[in-house]
Amino acid sequence: MQRKAFIERFLIQIYGGLPSDDAEMTYDLINSWLPDAVAAAAKQCYKESIQLDGVGYVNNGFYSTFSGLAISADSTDNLCWKFELPEIPPGIGESMGLAEVRFYGDGFTSFPTIPLSVNQWGYFDSMRPIANKIMYMQEGKTVRAKTSLILTSYTATVKMISGGDSTNLDSELVVPPDYFPIMQEYLKVQLGFEKAQKPDITSDGVDMA
């Protein structure tokens, strides 16, 4: 479903019809809540997979591929490179949010690189290098990669849970439709709470809200 259509459907629900010109809830506001809702749905998927299958995973329908991410030298470490993710992926499992990182250059894409945790990152530094393997660690929005290759002439390609392109309301909302109800319930709680608040309609220096 188009991101804009999902938001409009929700607005109609919360206003009991198409919103008027006075509506306080905007497309931008609901769009800003969507990453939270997507993360809640993805986490529910993860929990259900453990309950039903005994193995923790997030359905492929939650993942998007982002490519062309520019790489720069990371001055915080030796032989280290970094790039920025479009957004911080949900923190599900150790590395469910950011599932895959590859590098692209000269018409070829590298093998997937190996994720490390923060603790492993330090440990890895005292190990003998693994041939032909690049290690990476996600740290918030930044991904750091260690290799003796000069990565600045490459770009990064990642697969991550994101809900799609949040800057484009015409883009597809990347969530399996059977998880829309979870997102809607989440939004209803959050935005229904906002709607229930009594606005301060007098400007008299007293915070009445």
Partner: protein, 228 residues
């Protein structure tokens, strides 16, 4: 064109009510003056009479946009969206000629809304990260027009209610000096017939007070409050 009645019919009806009660004559000037006031009083009622506001609930029993019936009464005066240029230095868009009250304001080719806000919320709107002002424009109502943010929005499209045309009973004297209705010198009401009745009731109420005639006032009140 809505079905209405002529200003001469208005004059005849109002004169009949007053003369029936032997409360004096209704002069042309008095008719024109009072009916002009009455139609604005009725418009005020339809737009949302401030006198009917209750504490903590600024919604009168009847207000513009509340029902299709009220909106229909005002349709002769609703102007379709008209382009108004916004001064990029000040953000001010002047009132269009004959402006009475805004209906809606749009911008861009997609006719996205420009939201009305009060001054006390301007800071929040101007500095919002989630709803950037560039994509979520707002306007304030000021004495000379509208103050639109962002100032460089270019032009807006404004749908508004204009003032009603004056109600004037024009006449020329006959050979005996009596005033005879002259349509060429008159200005007809633009309202629907049922709304003209409301205006006449208000006019009669004012005349009743002016003439200290309680029965005229009561008759007018009865029309206003009970119907017929």
């Amino acid at each position: 064109m809505p079905e209405t009645i002529t200003v001469d019919e208005m004059y005849q009806i109002e004169r009949l009510v007053i003369n029936n009660n032997q409360n004096g004559n209704l002069t042309k000037d008095k008719f024109n003056l009072i009916n002009e006031q009455a139609q604005y009083d009725y418009m005020e009622f339809l737009l949302g009479d401030l006198r009917r506001y209750q504490f903590g609930r600024p919604i009168p029993p009847a207000a513009w946009g509340m029902t299709a019936r009220i909106r229909q009464s005002l349709t002769p005066f609703i102007q379709p969206p008209t382009s108004v240029t916004v001064d990029p230095a000040t953000g001010i868009a002047p009132f269009p000629p004959g402006y009475q009250m805004w209906d809606a304001m749009y911008w861009s080719i997609y006719r996205k809304r420009v939201k009305f806000i009060q001054q006390e919320r301007l800071d929040s709107h101007l500095n919002s990260t989630i709803n950037p002002i560039s994509r979520n424009p707002v306007f304030l109502s000021i004495y000379t027009g509208f103050e639109v943010y962002p100032n460089d929005i270019g032009a807006i499209r404004l749908s508004y209610i204009r003032n009603p045309r004056p109600i004037i009973w024009g006449s020329t004297p006959d050979i005996y000096g009596r005033q005879v209705y002259n349509p060429a010198l008159s200005s007809q009401p633009e309202w629907f017939r049922e709304d003209v009745i409301q205006i006449m009731a208000r006019a009669l109420r004012m005349m009743g007070v002016s003439l200290q005639a309680a029965q005229v006032s009561q008759y007018a009140d009865q029309i206003k409050n009970v119907g017929q």
